[in-house]
Amino acid sequence: MKLSLRIFFFAVVCMFTASCSSVNPWEHGILAKPEMAWEPDPLMGQLREHVYFAKEGSAGGYGAGGGGCGCN
C-alpha cells in the first residue's frame, strides 16, 4: 500500500479515537439529581440574576446544554 494511503487511513483511524463521549439516555440517573442541575434553587437563581443585572447592567451570557434527565 502506498505510504500516502497508509497515512490517510491512519488519520481516519485516529479520528475514531477522539476522547469525546456521550451519555446514553439510560445513564442519565446522576445528571437527573437535583444537585446536578445548573440551578438547584430556581428562586435563588432568579434573585442572583436580578442582582447581577442591577449591578452589571447586562444579563445572560451563561448556561450550556446538557444535564437533567433528558426525558421526553
Partner: protein, 166 residues
Amino acid sequence: MSTRLLNKFILLVFIFLPLSVSAISVGDTVPSFKARTIDDAKSVALEEYRGKVVLVDFWASWCPPCLKSLPKYDELRREIGTSNFEIVAVNVDENTDDAKKFLAKHPVSYPIAKDPKGVLPGVFGVKAMPTSYLVDQNGVVKYVHAAFKEGDIEKLRAEIEKLIAM
C-alpha cells in the same frame, strides 16, 4: 515492521467498524433476554411470553415521564387482561434501591426485571427514556414508542388490541 503493524491495525479497525449495534425498530425480531426481577425473587425471560402480545418497557426512577407511565400501564394490563397480553418492564436504575423505593409506594402487578448495568437498553438501542417496544405473538416488534404523555395510552391500547385480534 512498523509498516506491517500499521497495516494490521488499520485492517482490524475496518473489520470491527461495521459491527456497531443499530437500534431495534419495527419489523425486527425482539432480542431474547433473561434477567433477575427487581426483588431478586426469580428470573424473567422474554421467551416465556411467546404467544402473547408483550410490551417491553424501559424505565427508571429518575425519569418523571416513566413514573407517570407505570400506573397507566398497570391499569391497561388490568383492563386488557393477561391471557393474551403481558408487560415486561426493565428498570435501568444504577442503584436498584431507588426503583424499589418508588415501587413500594406505587406497586405494579407486572414483572419488572432489573438491569443496573444498562446492558439491555444498549442491545435494544434505546434512544430516549422511557421507551417501550410492542412485540407480537411471534416475537416481532410492531410498535416502538419513546416518551410518555397522557394521550399515549389510548394509541397503545389500539395497537395492542389490533395485534391481539390478529
